[in-house]
């Protein structure tokens, strides 16, 4: 059972994120890039504490807003400037093979649906993209950089902030002040899953990265995420995608 009540006004993150992904027309596939979003129960509560419900959307999706930058040193919802380059889905089976004196027995540890699936784990690998602050005009607004009086908006500041937030997110507390679990959420979409889904779970490995001279302006990183729940249910995904694609065909 998810700790977050997705039906509540405050935590109706699905609609908020979906609107940002596709605008009000959710059937659009013309978005050039759909940024992945990362957040947690704790960060969503920060929104509730600092902003009214009507401001949530702007808080989510316009991290350059001055008030956000000043109030929130950490982003409530982290949108990736550069999506992870590789995400591998791994879901082993819960099977134990025991040999007898005449044959073998495969023990299948099944769930309520009779499935012997183990927990889904996603391994993320990516690159920060260009995080060289030099020349990024955005640094003037944010006050982070020093050299940005001239030049173009390279997005370095946004990417750097997003990446640091992601790093922090992977290390965030698992237990909240009220002794409930801090759940982590990722919105996800790709060519394979054109309908946005939300992965709920926890980081099973902190973000690992390498400061390498061979890549002075970008950094490779990786982390793992253990999925406890997918919204909509992964077993219903094919049905939802079918509906989704037929809606597109009709428009």
């Amino acid at each position: 059972m998810p700790i977050i009540d997705l039906s509540s006004e405050i935590f109706n993150i699905q609609d908020v994120i979906a609107n940002s992904l596709f605008g009000t027309n959710k059937t659009s596939l013309k978005a050039a890039r759909v940024p992945m979003s990362f957040t947690s129960t704790r960060r969503l509560r920060l929104i509730n504490e600092n902003f009214g419900a009507t401001e949530i959307a702007s808080v989510f999706f316009d991290p350059e807003q001055e008030d956000v930058q000043t109030v929130q040193s950490e982003l409530p919802v982290i949108q990736m400037g550069v999506n992870p380059a590789s995400i591998s889905w791994k879901q082993p089976k819960r099977i134990t093979k025991k040999d007898t004196q005449e044959g073998s027995i495969f023990f299948h540890f099944t769930n309520a649906r009779g499935q012997n699936n183990d927990i889904l784990v996603l391994d993320f690998k990516g690159n920060t993209g260009n995080i060289n602050l030099a020349g990024d005009t955005a640094s003037v607004i944010s006050g982070v950089g020093a050299l940005g009086a001239t030049g173009s908006d390279t997005g370095a500041v946004k990417k750097l902030i997003a990446w640091h937030n992601l790093w922090n997110l992977t290390r965030e507390t698992m237990i909240l002040d009220d002794n409930t679990t801090n759940e982590f959420m990722i919105t996800y979409t790709s060519a394979a899953i054109p309908l946005e889904i939300m992965l709920i779970g926890f980081f099973s490995a902190n973000l690992e990265w390498e400061d390498s001279a061979s890549k002075p302006n970008s950094k490779d990183y990786s982390f793992s995420f253990t999925v406890q729940e997918i919204v909509p249910d992964i077993d219903d995904l094919v049905k939802n995608i079918s509906t989704f694609t037929s809606d597109i065909a009709a428009t």
Partner: protein
């Protein structure tokens, strides 16, 4: 291409373990990481171990929980003080009535407040459910001594007079000692088949938190005979009203001049010890009547029963050839069976719809209230149906039995006894069930638990006493001379003794059980590993017992001077094992030569039973049953199941297995019966164990030692 074994079965098989665990009527299955149940025929109840993931102290009432429940504001404190004042102004003698009144009318203001908080204060669904059910149950506290004078006494009372039935303390588990536990497991090879695997009481905790904040709560439980361990002859530990069990006449029973239970037959003893004896016949479940001429003193005693065991459904099952002199079982429900399959169906532990009726609790007078049955029918009508059979789903039967501890109490089991209908005239049943038992409890009843007495009695005559996975108490004669096939190769109806007055077992309509012979077989394909041992040191070839023609000399300390020996010798084994003599003498008095001879036979069998032993680690076989002959295919032998356990560790890398401990091993020495079936015998063949129950019951008519050896020419 399918890879098959030597019998044409696929070598690769699928198994689908599953279990359900209920503690205090709450389903905790989703947090169970490991569950193990253990059964044995020794002097101990069945046990279980349940390992629960205790993430975020799900099963612990934390300090924060405690504060959130009991509050600190002025208003609430006043409410609590008011409640204490109410008690303080009440005479101690009236406190019990006050407490009862509070329970009847619901809860006090304070209780209401606490319950409301338990429901709303984010305890979590499971913790909230348990706390709400327990937190307002109160019982009279201790009447405190006036240790501080006039004022001190009054002050003490406000702290001691009002007690919680389930005392909570911060950072302790939400469960308590003697909370009911029920465990069910699914046959991994047949997912439609579930078994009762444990029914008992919570006995111990281990709350483990490691350096990585991994929290695991391990719970241990013991079977319902745990109650008997704390029951002396005059007391019932399940009765909360201590005044109700102090009876003046009980004191006579404890007199040094009394011989407790002297002269009772085995069924009379067990029914009396479990259900008590009410000579007035005014209340209670059982009365010893004129069945025991030699037990006048016992009959006059008012003995409390133990727990809430059901006399409805309890029965003495007689098996074997009829006797011309039937055992007198006045007022004891009894029934005969024609085969052991019928008997096994009576006690079988596969979950069936009939369990909902067969296990339902009765009241203190031994009657099954009509409203109980109405409730059961309502529960069934609301339950989910199996989509295939359109009958109530098995998981729903489990849920109802697991959750409704009021309808299906742990100590609501039956007493089932399997005794021989007859022995041959020379060593008759009366000798076994009465003479050897006679005055067994001489001078020992003063401070012995009833469970200890039961074990003493059954050990003396080599019967076995154990608990079934459903919670029945079972006493049987040893079945080490029987074969798995004697328990039936086909399904049989579910027989039950539905009411104590029925006089016969009757079947439930459309409910079948078995077949049982497969359950009592361990095939090679189901064997992980095994270890079979032979210990020469444990073999005996001669036993001498003594009988005392004149009662009284034994207690006078001159036993052997007046005792006469009676011996049994296994002559043909002496060349191999030498003459190994053992002298045995029961705790009490054996009066006849026949009884002494039989006692020598019984003890010789017991000595030699352990000479060969077999330990098996096998694929899960949840249908196993204690005191049953188990055919072990890899070593082509049959042994009696003395102990077994089933264990499941869930998840990736998990496993499920059954472990079996067998003794009374019988091997095959080439003997077959008229039907061509192998006949298994102990070391030295039939002469190695002259007291053979199957022969005595005339169920082995077609085998007569070497005379039936197969023709060498085929």
């Amino acid at each position: 291409m399918t890879i098959v074994d030597t019998k044409g079965n696929s070598q690769a098989r699928h198994a689908f373990p599953a279990y359900r665990v209920y503690i205090f009527g709450v389903d905790v299955t989703e947090d169970v990481m490991n569950v193990e149940v253990n059964y044995n025929t020794g002097r101990a109840p069945n046990t279980c171990s349940v390992v629960l993931g205790n993430e975020l102290d799900k099963y612990v009432l934390t300090t924060a929980n405690f504060i959130s429940l009991f509050g600190e504001s002025d208003v609430e404190t006043q409410a609590i003080q008011k409640r204490k004042q109410e008690i303080m102004n009440t005479g101690v003698g009236e406190i019990a009535a006050l407490m009862a009144a509070h329970q009847q009318i619901g809860t006090s203001d304070v209780d209401d407040l606490v319950i409301e908080r338990a429901k709303n204060n984010n305890l979590g669904e499971l913790k909230s459910k348990v706390v709400v059910a327990k937190v307002n149950v109160r019982s009279p506290g201790v009447e405190a001594p006036d240790i501080a004078g006039k004022y001190g006494g009054e002050n003490i009372r406000q702290y001691t007079a009002d007690a919680y039935r389930y005392p909570f303390q911060a950072e302790d588990p939400i469960f308590h000692a003697n909370d009911p536990i029920r465990i069910f497991m699914r046959d991994p090879f047949n997912p439609r088949r579930w078994y009762h695997q444990f029914s008992g009481y919570l006995s111990n905790f281990d709350d483990m938190v490691d350096e990585n904040n991994q929290r695991i709560l391990t719970i241990g439980g013991e079977g319902p005979s745990k109650l008997l361990r704390y029951a002396r002859v005059t007391t019932n530990p399940a009765v909360l009203d201590r005044q109700a069990i102090i009876k003046s006449r009980d004191l006579n029973f404890r007199s040094a001049l009394s011989e407790g239970f002297s002269g009772l037959t085995l069924p009379e003893f067990f029914f009396t010890v479990l259900f008590g004896n009410d000579p007035d016949g005014e209340s209670g479940k059982f009365t010893l009547e004129e069945s025991s001429p030699a037990a006048k003193q016992v009959r006059s005693m008012k003995i409390a029963g133990v727990g809430n065991f059901r006399i409805n459904g309890s029965v003495v099952v007689e098996y074997g050839a009829d006797t011309k002199d039937p055992l007198q079982l006045i007022n004891i429900p009894s029934a005969g069976v024609t085969d052991l399959a019928q008997y096994q169906s009576l006690i079988d532990h596969e979950v069936k719809e009939s369990d909902l009726y067969d296990l339902v609790a009765e009241d203190t007078d031994g009657n099954i209230p009509v409203e109980q049955q109405t409730t059961v029918e309502q529960l069934i009508s609301r339950a989910k149906l199996d989509p295939q059979t359109r009958q109530i789903a098995t998981e729903e039967i489990i849920r109802i039995i697991g959750e409704r501890t009021d309808l299906y109490p742990i100590d609501g089991g039956r007493l089932i006894m399997l005794i021989p209908s007859s022995f041959q005239a020379e060593i008759n049943r009366e000798t076994l069930l009465k003479d050897i038992l006679r005055s067994f409890a001489l001078n020992t009843t003063s401070f012995k638990s009833r469970l200890g007495l039961m074990y003493d009695v059954t050990e003396r005559i080599e019967f076995v006493f154990y608990e079934s996975p459903k919670g029945d108490l079972i006493c049987e004669f040893p079945l080490y001379d029987f074969d798995p096939d004697d328990f039936g190769k086909t399904e049989v109806p579910h027989y039950a003794m539905k009411r104590k007055s029925d006089g016969e077992l009757t079947p439930f309509e459309n409910i079948s059980r078995g077949p049982f012979n497969d359950r009592f077989t361990v095939a090679k394909r189901n064997t992980f590993n095994f270890s079979k041992g032979i210990t020469d040191e444990k073999v005996r070839t001669q036993v001498t017992s003594y009988y005392h023609p004149l009662q009284g000399y034994k207690s006078g300390g001159t036993s052997r001077e007046f005792a006469k020996p009676e011996e049994v010798t296994l002559d043909h084994l002496i060349p191999l094992y030498w003459l190994r003599l053992e002298q045995v003498e029961p705790k009490a008095y054996i009066a006849t030569r026949e009884a002494a001879k039989l006692y020598a036979h019984l003890t010789l069998n017991k000595f030699n039973a352990d000479a060969r032993s077999l330990g098996i680690n096998a694929a899960p076989n949840l249908g196993l049953w204690l005191n049953r002959p188990i055919y072990f295919e890899p070593r082509n032998c049959i042994g009696i199941l003395m102990g077994t356990s089933h264990s499941v560790t869930w998840g990736t890398g998990g496993s499920m297995d059954s472990r079996l401990n067998l003794n009374y091993i019988r091997g095959w020495d080439g003997l077959v019966d008229d039907a061509g079936n192998a006949v298994f015998t102990t070391i030295g063949g039939f002469p190695g164990r002259p007291l053979n129950y199957k022969i005595l019951f005339r169920l082995r008519d077609n085998v007569d030692g070497a005379a039936k050896l197969p023709d060498a020419t085929g």
